[in-house]
């Protein structure tokens, strides 16, 4: 069972990887409150893509689960699940819960 703590660890891991490529003033904090998308985000669109892809790959490597975070539902939600690290973790938890019930 992959719980929220595990998911956050992998998102933080992906943030660490991404920070290695970012200038100091653009680096992200490993915190659930960190804004990823929209007003207040330090990430450009490419940075967000990298973070999502990195998180998908880390989840697959650690837990063997293939999850597509940027699915149709995520892209069409009124409140984007990519708004903060916390909302992203919530969305990943939802996706993993659904896939384990299939």
């Amino acid at each position: 069972m992959v719980d929220k703590k595990n998911i956050l660890e992998e998102i933080y891991g992906a943030i660490g990887q991404l920070n290695g490529e970012l200038p100091p003033d653009s680096q992200l904090d490993s915190s659930a409150e960190t804004v990823l998308f929209g007003a207040g985000s330090k990430l450009d669109s490419l940075g967000l893509v990298n973070l999502i892809v990195g998180t998908e790959q880390r989840l697959q490597d650690r837990f063997g689960v293939a999850v597509t975070i940027a699915d149709e539902r995520a892209m069409s939600q009124k409140n984007s699940p990519f708004r903060t690290v916390g909302t992203l973790a919530d969305y990943v938890e939802l996706l993993l819960g659904e896939s384990s019930r299939e």
């Binding site: 490419l46 990298n50 790959q57 697959q60 490597d61 293939a66």
Partner: protein, 233 residues
């Protein structure tokens, strides 16, 4: 991580894809191929996956295996393709679906998953397959030509979207080559087609590898979004 550069080629069981696999194995690539059916190509540096290129889950599994086993992806060649010679009034829906799935969805899926892997190293080369049937507006090839027109659009736009990741995306547009793809096309149709080329002969495998070699050359990192049609079309 693989010491050899890693190349994925789709549609490697026969025809141009098979030739490409052998050609790049001989040039010290680690080659990962795929097709719906098993391949009889045996080489310690070749690995084959049986899949439908439009099956998202199967395609993701292939890329996961490449990431875990090879740790890198240098080149993707989207060779897999289906053609069908039909008048529009005689084109079955099943043909429409299979051409769309293999030529457009398959190319898109492989580009998307390859870019995810290539962006880790901030370098990569994607080569798609277009066709002279598109610029020649070949009658009887409406759907095939349209599907490859979509591949051209994908190539041109992905070139822009992926440029920041160090990935180039280009396409080669072959003339007819003696393969199964054109086996059912009547000779007079084929002769008429060749007559519209500036250089009036069938294409050969070497014509295609020559263009791919150029696209994937390290010094071609400023070449992207281009479609090279062979034969002077």
């Amino acid at each position: 991580m693989s010491e050899r550069p890693v190349m994925i080629i789709t549609g490697t069981r026969k025809g141009i894809g098979r030739h490409l696999a052998e050609y790049y194995l001989a040039r010290d690539f680690e080659v990962v191929g795929c097709s719906r059916e098993e391949s009889d190509l045996k080489d310690p540096h070749y690995r084959h996956f049986c899949l439908d290129v439009a099956d998202e889950t199967a395609v993701r599994d292939l890329f996961t295996a490449v990431r875990k086993d090879c740790g890198r992806l240098d080149v993707l060649v989207n060779n897999a393709g289906i053609a069908s010679m039909n008048h529009v009034l005689l084109t079955p829906m099943k043909t429409v679906e299979s051409i769309t799935r293999t030529n457009i969805i398959g190319t898109f899926l492989f580009c998307r998953e390859a870019a995810k892997l290539m962006q880790l190293a901030r370098i990569g080369r994607i080569v798609n397959f277009a066709t002279v049937a598109t610029p020649l507006k070949l009658e009887g090839e409406a759907l095939y030509a349209a599907s490859k027109a979509a591949v051209v659009s994908l190539t041109e736009i992905l070139a822009r979207e992926l440029a920041q990741l160090g990935i180039t995306v280009n396409a080669v547009g072959p003339t007819p080559v003696h393969t199964d793809l054109i086996r059912s096309v009547p000779k007079d149709k084929m002769d008429a087609l060749i007559d519209r080329q500036a250089i009036k002969r069938f294409g050969e495998f070497r014509d295609i590898t020559n263009v791919i070699d150029f696209f994937i050359h390290p010094q071609s990192d400023f070449v992207t979004g281009q479609v090279v049609y062979l034969g002077g079309v």
